[in-house]
Symmetry: C2
């Protein structure tokens, strides 16, 4: 029975410092290119402490990905729900939120896409984390599609999710933040097509 206090709002614990530093470095430089020493330097925490909190680099990687998962999802969904009130406009707002994301100086693409690009072996924990993240995003979109009364919500959600992925990658590779605008334009057409009051 020792440091059981969760330090809510207090200055971050060493563990949190490590995780946040890992998220930042992995996000910018990738996982393989980011050494433990680099994380140690940037976090201001010694290697000993790092290995007291995490069994290995792999464990830190997984923890960092999961942490970023929650962090990103919360932020993204909250922004969407703040920007618009009804389901249909929220679906479109997704791409507005994406655009501000793409325009950030610290935008290096989707961390999970990049992670999978470095780890092709299927069935690993890392792959599950990444897959689950994408699944969760699609489900978020799906709920909105159901709420707006789409004719085939599953189909529409899959299509919009695809557009979002495409926009992320295009913004990253081709350095065009306005890929979000293109996606939004296409999304509007698809949403219109799936609206019940459509004369198909």
């Amino acid at each position: 029975m020792s440091s059981q206090m969760k330090q809510r709002g207090a200055r971050p614990s060493k563990r949190e410092q490590l995780i946040q530093t890992a998220v930042n470095l992995f996000g910018q430089y990738g996982i393989h290119a980011t050494g433990i020493d680099t994380i140690v330097e940037h976090s201001g925490v010694t290697k000993k402490t790092l290995y007291a909190h995490f069994r290995s680099k792999e464990e830190l990687v997984l923890t960092a990905l999961r942490h970023y998962d929650g962090q990103f999802r919360n932020s993204f969904m909250r922004q969407v729900e703040t920007k618009a009130r009804n389901p249909k406009t929220r679906l479109l707002a997704i791409f507005d939120v994406a655009e501000t994301w793409f325009s950030q100086q610290s935008f290096y693409g989707c961390m999970f896409i990049n992670a999978v690009g470095e780890h092709s072996t299927p069935g690993t924990s890392l792959r599950y984390v990444c897959r689950d993240f994408k699944r969760m995003m699609t489900e978020f979109i799906l709920k909105l599609c159901i709420q707006m009364g789409a004719r085939n919500p599953q189909h529409l959600a899959e299509e919009l999710a695809l557009l979002l992925e495409g926009a992320i990658v295009t913004a990253q590779v081709s350095q065009k933040p306005d890929a979000a605008k293109i996606a939004k334009r296409a999304a509007a057409v698809l949403i219109q097509k799936h609206s019940s009051h459509e004369a198909f």
Copy 2:
């Protein structure tokens, strides 16, 4: 004036062996995770010979990416043009070709997307190669959009390119080769919308 012969169709030169091995390994495991020693082992060429042909790993990386660029583009476009005759069906055929690509055992996502995920610094040669590849793909789509007489070919091409990117990433991360089918479904809607004889 020595080995100026290009060896058309003959057994591959050491250089070609190295490049092809590099393409395969970089594609599967990523660039940072693939060491020179691994390439040497798999290619059956000694390290000395490798460094006789390439100044550094970076030069081999760039050469491999450029080689794959041409290789992929030729194969992809030829398949699309073989599968369908008129522009509109060719645009849809893109996603059929993509699906067979995604279904291959050796599918590890788009090499250029993965490469950028590992190299965030903008303005580097690697980034240019990747950007140019995507640009070329979009232009291929654009030509078809113009040929089919789309109302706004640039817009349609951008949208379809986005769908393709999204399908690639989704097939890779979520291991769903039928992401191509979803993209095709959405593409059909967008193409329909851009057809001149549409009652908008």
